[in-house]
Structure formats: structure tokens, C-alpha cells
Symmetry: C2
């Protein structure tokens, strides 16, 4: 494992454990047993580290979705599970600015592909499905649902609208 990877792994650990506020150059250096200024020999600035973390997150999410149980319910379940298991990594993708310019091309599309596939290539429905999943996850992570809420029931209710066939008489 190169030092660069070591830094990123430590950053991931730090983010997971203490959230975005806990990811500082000082703490990061402390975590890998080095002094803060040394980090700048490996990354030009903090934004570069965040960008690298976003790339990792997108890849992880892609893989989780790609290996989901086939079908709408399976995909949704995989989406939610990954987000709940990596709440701060998920937040890094949605709550922080996405450093598109520092991202290798294709990673973003790769994460979206499973959703697009599920809607049969309908881009509008894919985006709506993304919105539904993203919204429910964010509300859950933010603790906006009251204690004891049946969140799975909300998912089922929302996914009902995405069952085929949508337009009557149309069949694939």
C-alpha cells in the first residue's frame, strides 16, 4: 500500500467515525503517525483529498448497485443499504460540492447506470427514481422521520409508482 493510499484510507476512516468536521489535515496526519505538513507532499491541498474520496465513494456505490438483487426492490434496497452503511461517504457525494473536474470520466455515469437500466432506459423515470431514493435516504439519515416510522413501508409505497407497465396497454 502506497503512502497515498494510506492517507486516503485513513481519511475514509476518519470521515466514517467523526463526520466531515472530523476530517482535518491535522487529525489525518495524526491518524497515520505523521505531521500535518507532510501531507502536502502527497496532495496539493485538502480539496484533492476530498475529490479522491468522492471517487472512491462513487466506485463503492456503483459496485453495490451492480451487485444488487435483480429487480426494482432489490436495487432500492441496495441503494439504501449502502447509504446507511456509509452515511458520511454518501454525504460527501450529495452535501459537498462534487469535484467533477478532478474526477475520472465515466465514474459518475457508472453509478447511475443501474437505475437507468431499471427504468428501461427512460431517463426521466430514472432521475425520478434517483430522486425518490436519494430523498428517502437523506430524510432517514437526517433523522427527519419520527421515532418508530415504518420507513420500509414508505419505500414500498414510493416504488409502487415505478412498477411496470406505466403507460396502459404498453408492454415489454
Amino acid at each position: 500500500m502506497t503512502r497515498t493510499d494510506e492517507i486516503l484510507s485513513a481519511a475514509e476512516r476518519l470521515l466514517a467515525a467523526h463526520g466531515p468536521q472530523g476530517l482535518t489535515m491535522r487529525q489525518l496526519a495524526l491518524e497515520i503517525g505523521v505531521k500535518a505538513p507532510s501531507l502536502y507532499k502527497h496532495f496539493p491541498d485538502k480539496a484533492a483529498i476530498e475529490a479522491a474520496l468522492q471517487e472512491r465513494a462513487l466506485r463503492g456505490q456503483s459496485e453495490a448497485l451492480a451487485h444488487a438483487t435483480p429487480g426494482l426492490a432489490g436495487l432500492a434496497s441496495a441503494y439504501r443499504a449502502w447509504a446507511l452503511r456509509n452515511p458520511h461517504l454518501y454525504g460527501l457525494l450529495s452535501r459537498q460540492h462534487l469535484h467533477r473536474d478532478r474526477l475520472p470520466p465515466g465514474v459518475e455515469d457508472a453509478a447511475a447506470a443501474p437505475l437507468l437500466r431499471e427504468t428501461g432506459g427512460d431517463i426521466d423515470r430514472a432521475r425520478a427514481l434517483w430522486g425518490l431514493a436519494h430523498g428517502l435516504v437523506e430524510l432517514e439519515l437526517a433523522g427527519r422521520f419520527p421515532e418508530g416510522t415504518d420507513i420500509e413501508a414508505a419505500w414500498r409505497a414510493g416504488l409502487e409508482g415505478f412498477q411496470r407497465p406505466r403507460r396502459e396497454g404498453f408492454r415489454t
Copy 2:
């Protein structure tokens, strides 16, 4: 206008103009022509100011939804419009911790009422609708949709699934 209200209005202005990072006790004091320590004569700490702002935000959102054009499309449009017009206020409700303990009872439910009404009292579908709206708004605000995306089409596609009747043969 009391000094307390003056502080909150200035805080709202600051938040709208420069985002959460721009809302600091120093800037807030500067905005109303006073020194920072004076603010603590009106609010115990910064969290109290944020809580008051959240209450204002919830009330504003409630009113916007209550005055929406009747029907699913009208409600959705009002939800989106309010969020786009008050992006940082919206973010204060979803991206920051909701200070429920400092919130007057009822304000949170009041904001949710129009959605629940739209789904005919079905709480699960109301939450799903909330998730859809919240997710699409967050994705739009975060700039996650590519340039030129037809966001309204995504909304239409998502709302399709919420058209009645949902369960076949059932009618109100």
C-alpha cells in the same frame, strides 16, 4: 421591530446571501451595526439563533404549500419553487440538525399536512411523496443533474406514480 427580530432578519439575509458558512456571530453583529458579544444578550448561543431560523423556515414553507394550486402538480411545483427560492433556508432544515427541542410543537406537522392531505391520508405514500420531492430538490440544488437536464420532466415522471387510483378498483 424588536432587536431580537432584527437579529433574526439579518441572520436570514446573511444565510441567503452567503450560505451557512457566512452566518457567523461576528458577521451577524456587523450586519446590524453592533459588536458580537452584544448578541449574547438576546440569544444564549448560536444554536438558539439557528433554531429560531428553522422555525421561520418551517412556517414559510408551510404557508407556501398551503397556498399552492390544488392538486398534486400544484403542490409539487410549490414545494420546488419555495426550495429554489430559499435554498439555504431549505438546507437549514435538511442538512443541519433539526433543533426539535427548541421548536414550538406543531410547526413540523403543519408543514407536512398538505402532503398528507394530497395522498388522502395515506401516511406511507405521503412520506414517499416527501422523499421524491426532497430528493429531486436536493439533487437540483447540489448541481447533480447535468447541464440542460429537463428537470420538470423528471418531476412529471415521478409524480405519475402518485396519481390516483393506486390500487385497482379502489375509488374515493
